[in-house]
Amino acid sequence: MSTRDIVHIALFAALMAVLGVFPPLMIPAIGVPITAQSMGPMLAGGILGARRGGLSMLLFVLLVAVGLPLLSGGRGGIGALVGPWSGFIYGWVVSAVVIGFLTERFWHRLSFVTAFAFALVGGIGVVYGIGVPWFAAMSGMDLGAAFLASAVAFVPGDLIKAGMAALVMVTVRQAYPLITRARNA
């Protein structure tokens, strides 16, 4: 891995921390915030690609684990990583990999529509696919009910975030492309 890769990975982990500063909207009934941070993995995957994108989210999770209050609302520490909804956070890592993989794969045909689709698959499909079963397993609750609860609470916001991330992905692809350059290098 080149120095440049390391720096990019650190940059997007830091970007996650900055996204955490935007005030989260706590949903009192279930105790998970609607947060700008769920856009981070979409951007990381869509701009850096699978490997660097995934590692940047992993680095972010590690920094939360060592006790830096980088989750929205100034939360952090291991306690924040073993809660009933913490599966979402691990979902971020995997979703950056998935979005990155898809973006690299279809780099030359990337358009708003495909980018949006990738952001949905990774940012909603994968994230919920990990976060919700985690919740069901830890709480002993019914999987379907857990899905329904999080869908109602988060999907509207996540649709908007995916749209925004897709716009940024295709614009940055033109304005400062990283994925092809990395390949040619």
Binding site: T171, Q174, A175, Y176
Partner: protein, 224 residues
């Protein structure tokens, strides 16, 4: 005409600008001073990007604290780093960004853009990708993005630091050709030749307010 009365600005409880009373009516006004003396803070006051902690700032009688939106239409702002200002990957799209909020028709927008690019020696570069431009050309695009909004006043915060001599001259020429009032913050004293008035800031206060030669002398004195 821009007026500042009893203006002070505090940031994090620390005063960064104090006791500024000014009437700015000259066509070309320069702003100089040491790093951290308050130049950028002063410039940001002029179009309501920053509101004074005490006192009032008014542009043609409009208070920046009350009529922010109207003031920003009158006062265009150009930053040091063009990359903070540019949103879209191509020149044409980027210049259209500000105009779209103004309810102009498509041909009107295209016409205005073509005209501004022409004037800046960038004619026909609408489809050019900005990341392929040199630093100097990017700065010209950033300036064009502000010019295209046809402001009455142009405020520039160190717009030439990344540029070589001839690009600096291009910017200087573009600014010279601008009809309205210009306020420019700069460390490049040679840009102030031909200016009507120069303000020297020092530790958050107006240290000197005079024609260029005198003001520059007083600044050089400070640096000793």
């Amino acid at each position: 005409m821009i007026t500042l009365s009893g203006v002070g600005v505090s940031r994090n409880g620390r005063p960064v600008l104090s006791d500024i009373d000014l009437r700015l009516a000259e066509r070309r006004i320069g702003v100089i001073g040491a790093n951290g003396s308050g130049k950028s803070t002063f410039a940001r006051l002029l179009n309501g990007l920053l509101l004074p902690t005490t006192g009032t700032v008014a542009v043609d009688g409009l208070d920046t604290a009350k009529d922010g939106k109207a003031v920003r239409r009158k006062v265009g702002f150009v930053f040091q780093n063009p990359d903070s200002q540019i949103v879209y990957p191509s020149v044409g799209e980027d210049l259209a960004f500000g105009l779209k909020g103004r309810g102009l028709s498509k041909p009107e927008i295209a016409g205005r853009i073509a005209e501004v690019l022409e004037r800046q020696g960038l004619a026909g570069s609408e489809n050019q990708l900005i990341h392929e431009l040199s630093g100097g050309e990017r700065q010209l695009v950033a300036l064009a993005g502000v010019m295209v909004m046809q402001p009455d006043v142009l405020v520039l915060d160190e717009p030439t630091t990344l540029l070589d001599l001839s690009n600096t001259r291009r910017i200087a020429t573009a600014i010279e050709a601008f009809d309205g009032q210009v306020l420019m913050v700069t460390h490049d004293l040679s840009l102030l030749a031909g200016f009507d008035r120069v303000l020297v800031f020092e530790a958050g206060r107006l240290h000197c307010d005079a024609p260029p030669a005198e003001a520059i002398a007083s600044y050089l004195d400070l640096c000793r």
